[in-house]
Symmetry: D2
Subunit: 311 residues, 4 copies
Amino acid sequence: MNQEKILNVLETAYQKGKAVAPYGNVATYIPELGKADKNNLGISIFTVGGQKYNVGDTDRRFTIQSISKIISLVLALEHLGFDKVFSKVGMEPSGEAFNSLVELDLNSNKPFNPMINSGALTVSSLLLPEFSFEEMTEYARKVCLDSEIEMNEAVFQSEMSNVSRNRAIAYLLESKGIIENDVEKSLELYTKMCSLNVTAESLANFGMILAADGINPANGERLISAQAVKIAKTIMLTCGMYDGSGEFAVYVGIPTKSGVGGGLLSVADYKMGIGVYGPSLDEKGNCIAGRPVLEYLSKELGLHIFDRKRI
Amino acid sequence: MNQEKILNVLETAYQKGKAVAPYGNVATYIPELGKADKNNLGISIFTVGGQKYNVGDTDRRFTIQSISKIISLVLALEHLGFDKVFSKVGMEPSGEAFNSLVELDLNSNKPFNPMINSGALTVSSLLLPEFSFEEMTEYARKVCLDSEIEMNEAVFQSEMSNVSRNRAIAYLLESKGIIENDVEKSLELYTKMCSLNVTAESLANFGMILAADGINPANGERLISAQAVKIAKTIMLTCGMYDGSGEFAVYVGIPTKSGVGGGLLSVADYKMGIGVYGPSLDEKGNCIAGRPVLEYLSKELGLHIFDRKRI
Amino acid sequence: MNQEKILNVLETAYQKGKAVAPYGNVATYIPELGKADKNNLGISIFTVGGQKYNVGDTDRRFTIQSISKIISLVLALEHLGFDKVFSKVGMEPSGEAFNSLVELDLNSNKPFNPMINSGALTVSSLLLPEFSFEEMTEYARKVCLDSEIEMNEAVFQSEMSNVSRNRAIAYLLESKGIIENDVEKSLELYTKMCSLNVTAESLANFGMILAADGINPANGERLISAQAVKIAKTIMLTCGMYDGSGEFAVYVGIPTKSGVGGGLLSVADYKMGIGVYGPSLDEKGNCIAGRPVLEYLSKELGLHIFDRKRI
Amino acid sequence: MNQEKILNVLETAYQKGKAVAPYGNVATYIPELGKADKNNLGISIFTVGGQKYNVGDTDRRFTIQSISKIISLVLALEHLGFDKVFSKVGMEPSGEAFNSLVELDLNSNKPFNPMINSGALTVSSLLLPEFSFEEMTEYARKVCLDSEIEMNEAVFQSEMSNVSRNRAIAYLLESKGIIENDVEKSLELYTKMCSLNVTAESLANFGMILAADGINPANGERLISAQAVKIAKTIMLTCGMYDGSGEFAVYVGIPTKSGVGGGLLSVADYKMGIGVYGPSLDEKGNCIAGRPVLEYLSKELGLHIFDRKRI
């Protein structure tokens, strides 16, 4: 791709993101997240061909939050296998909010998918006997090509003081026989993974590796199996933006996962990873700048999964 | 009332109950309850005029289970007041099973009523800072005129090993700001109250006092305020048999509360209390003998709230 | 009962009703109902002993609306029998709004009860092959002791122009095999019955007959069977005020059915019928004056089902 | 692509489909569909490069059923525009069955997406004032390159005798102001479109045109706009297989729409259209042969949206 074109498009996308940031709000359900500056915005584009483009606050650390669900899912698929993971969690969009208990209670056998909290707690419980949190952190560092990822202790403590709803979900999962390991430790592991500090650049690296089928394009090293990557991308596309996933797929068409810390992980298949940081959120809890930024990038760079330009 | 007639009616009711007992099953969700003998049946009728009629296993101890919700509700109304209690829990039949989370999650401000688990856990949390479990046990002894009521430790431990669903409900209540006191202690208090050992006679005593407007007819002592009694009877009528309450009101028309231990507490207003013990349960978890027993008593003794004979 | 006391209590109740009428609104979902004067209020008390007390606009005609559900239910019980009626409709409070399709779609075998629209449409479909609308009108005149009851043609036409939701419910019932007769004719019959013009006095007459177990106290003639009356009163108590029935039972404790035309039919068992007309509605669609009026009457005259004074 | 390879893969896929056909059942909700032979199976693959591969019963006529929702959606997008269509219907997977009323009643503003019946009825109502059924049939012929498409009168009549549930949905839509045109005519238009007779070859043609961005590859003629095609493919991917769409996207990864007549329309983007006919259905109402056939084709020919082989 033409570097100058990408730079121009990225700059315009950044301006579009900055323009909407004042209309959102930082998360305030825990005090730690409320300290973010809603005018921060960073966008990183790392292509599978080795080009790196950054604009704005791309090296500022923030907590990964729900984007960690992808890391845990990939790790679980790699080490426990497809059958074990999907015996406990489905792969269907739910049509409901991320933290709903309704569907789970009515449809008792398993959570709809690993992107909603009930599904992600289930995946964490499966990983619990296999990996320590330190090992999972190390895995996050590996797939993000970022050796500086650490847990944000203040955010973790703040989250744990406000964890009643997720704890309710976790015990409901136990009552249905879906979580079979220690509930409190599963909940803690999940919350710790959400508290990892990343940057837009870490996410762009992770996205680039997913775009390259699980291989680090810089050295050809396979970091994730092709099958796990394919599944992760498909589920990001159908379930990654919660009950706004379908609309996002039409308008943007790039598999994307959001986190309430302001992060976005996007994968333009075989082309590039895109990492965004913008803590100003829309009413659904997604980075408010993300939609105009990614819609613009998709349109100008031909990144939609069904875009003509991709061939 | 004619004593001989009551005796004859009671004997026939008992035979009707015995006849259906084999078609039910004892509760098995915890091993301790599974030890009960499904052929046990006891019926006690204690009138406000001082007559006492017993047939069958009326002095056998069993755990009170959900019938304790009435004791806790009455105590909360007495000591915290109508407004405080009903600021946290409603008084509507829910149309759902006793342990549903669906309505609670969709209708967020409070549980439908104090007879479903979410409502009863809420009442327990309100009582937590006011009363120790020992004081509440003492209160149960007082209103049941039974100084031998004790907690069944084996059942309590068994319940606490199988409490995930109620724990999920309790944390969901905390997440909504409905439970404001310690969740684990509220859950423990609730479970301990469910583990109190009573007899059909204890329940008949309690029913008799509710029938007599809160006064012990033997000595004229007021044990419960008239207002608390009126509310308890009304809620037993509309919500006491879970999602079978409406049908029970039509067929039987006697305010009744069931417990999964096999107990039934019934109040024929201004006439008598009726206590039943029969651990063989129907598919909804109610004493299977209860419906034919109480329907027959209601019909023969004119106990339906809208029965002509009552005047 | 002391006549002067009743007169005084009624006068005060009337003043309490007048005081709240300005805070409600007349129904506006069809233009015809919007023409009512929200300051109108009438209360009639007709005792089983033959006393008649009226205050305010008790001879003003208004459409009976949902109160007709009681007339249809009683007629169906009389002529089709308990088993046939309740094979098609339940008797449980639903915990949902009167026109909900959710429970019906999820719980497929029958509507929760005959007081919600789905249940009343089912009852109408059962009556369809048995009675013409003229015969049903005649039956309404008989049980209300009011030979002038006629259908309000303007309201009927207005309702039929705004009937989509009820039509949807009716076809959903057909799709489930619950309505087996002609859907459009069932819907028309139901809507015509809702459009009958009554007065507060008609409703007090009907309530008095229900209070007297189905007998016209003036001449001893039985108009409705005792069993049908008992069922009707029980269902009015548990389901008559929609999703506010439980609260109404606690506060007022008098079986009551409301209609969006502003009417209230109340039955103080073995004592009196009470008819109210007040077209100013609260946010649930019940006559806004009804609650303070009936709560006051209940308290002062001891009409609560569990009130000490009744014996 | 290598023709011999495709032929071999197709033959094996066909055998896999034949092997499972006996385990499904033909639709029986209307007698006409019950007449189909469950051992029929036809698969057509038409590439954008002009190759045509057929195996089995590819020229047998069957009713298009829900696959017509794609034709109507595309036509609506072309002639009414994106904004008008999506002001009345969403684009989110619903997590519910195709004919659910629950979500629609709870989430009142619009149907989740145009692939469930409520959404498709809404699209039909939008098309009603713009096109006659004859014009819509003509459009179907055009995009399927099949001039012999006609309505199956017997199926249409049979469907109309069993249309209560869809009629209920349609009137619920009217009651919410979503359907603003004539309800009965909208329902009839929808049902007529479902009764069009197509073949596996017609569907492969339509799929090929969607794969080629809306252009007939044989002559370069644009039949559908690129934007409408992109939206249709995205919605097929996220919502095309009802509440099994997410799983289908993971396992198969080819945008596909099923019909209860036994048809499947699949689009391997920029590669080929695939049409399948197999009236033996699985328990969700999809052609039971479809999953093994398409999963095998996807794997062997690299058709998954995130498959490495596609570049």
